[in-house]
Amino acid sequence: MTRLQEMVSHVQKLPAMPVVAMEVLQSMSGADTDIDALARRIAQDQAIAARVLRVANSPFYGLQAQVSSIHDAIVVLGLSSVRSLVLAAAVIAGLPAGNCPDFSHTRFWRHVLGVAVAARALARPLKRPPEPLFIAGLLHDIGRLAMMVIYPDELCSVLADAQARDCTLAEAEQRHFGFDHSTAGAELARRWNFPAEIVDALAWHHNPTQGVPGGLAGIVHYADAIAHALDLDEADSDQVPRLDPDTVDALNLDWEALVSVLTETRAGFDSFKPLLG
């Protein structure tokens, strides 16, 4: 068995996606969503509901009255924001924490939230629906968590190797395993029955020219660089990964669009920070 086949068979044994996350994903594809039913379902998972309410009540939104129910949070923040929040909280709550000195869970989640808000900010100038981009950003590095569960010891030494060589984690993973977390992430996303466009974004966010042309991978690729460049994960030895020039050209962002994306990313990131606490 090759290492890749071994990884794929291990991914099949990882936990199933949290049920509430699955229902949220399903409600996105349905034309008419029963908001009351969805709100009731979300409220049943107290850990997730509490995180969502914490965000809705953060000073960022500056609401006068306390938001005390998921239904109110949907009214105030909008269905798509709450759905994104629930999915974020479900994924955060649903994946077991690995244990490795060079891996910081806080930093990981800061990074993926940063990429999610950057990808969502890119939706406006690119005239794309924001929600799938937010979700693709949020899940783009999920393969790192999967590999942490499958290969705890090896991944620890790969992390140390990336530090020592001052290279990106994807490069260090490639060197050691012959594949990287984007492949593992796409496998997990397939196992969890994510929509095809999300699977494609996870698989190709480091090599966007290999993804579906005009798909989400190129946007997540760019959002990833933005999150690193704005120091959103607060890692001292961080680095901005290489951007594929053809992908950058295809996105065709002018200076004004770019600066407003950076502004929106910074503000959006601050609004989601209470999720992490």
Binding site: A229, L230, Q239, V240, P241, L243, L258, V259, T263
Partner: protein
């Protein structure tokens, strides 16, 4: 705010940013925190008998230059392997301008 400064109204110049709202004796908010004061605001506050306001201290040019350089060095460090890459140029320059403007 840690570094807010209370100044007599007579010493405040236009362009100064409020660190706290200006509140009249009845408790009504006259001007919100974060507002950049204009000459018209200052005249109006004087007419209403406001003696002092809480403002964000102006940064001296030397401190500003040091901070901008610190941010530039950090951004160049983050782009240490990619600053010469064609795909990274636009992002590098936009991030540099944005972060220096934002001050972080």
């Amino acid at each position: 705010m840690d570094d807010a400064l209370t100044l007599p109204l007579s010493e405040v110049i236009p362009g100064t940013v409020l660190a706290a709202p200006v509140i009249d004796p009845s408790g009504a908010v006259l001007l919100p925190a974060g507002l950049s004061l204009t000459a018209a605001h200052l005249d109006s506050l004087q007419r209403r008998g406001i003696a002092s306001v809480v403002v964000v201290p102006a940064e001296d040019p030397e401190a500003l230059a040091i901070r901008r350089e610190r941010i530039r060095a950090r951004v160049m460090y983050l782009f240490r392997h990619t600053a010469q890459e064609p795909g990274s140029q636009a992002l590098l320059h936009a991030v540099l301008a944005f972060r220096q403007e934002a001050g972080k």
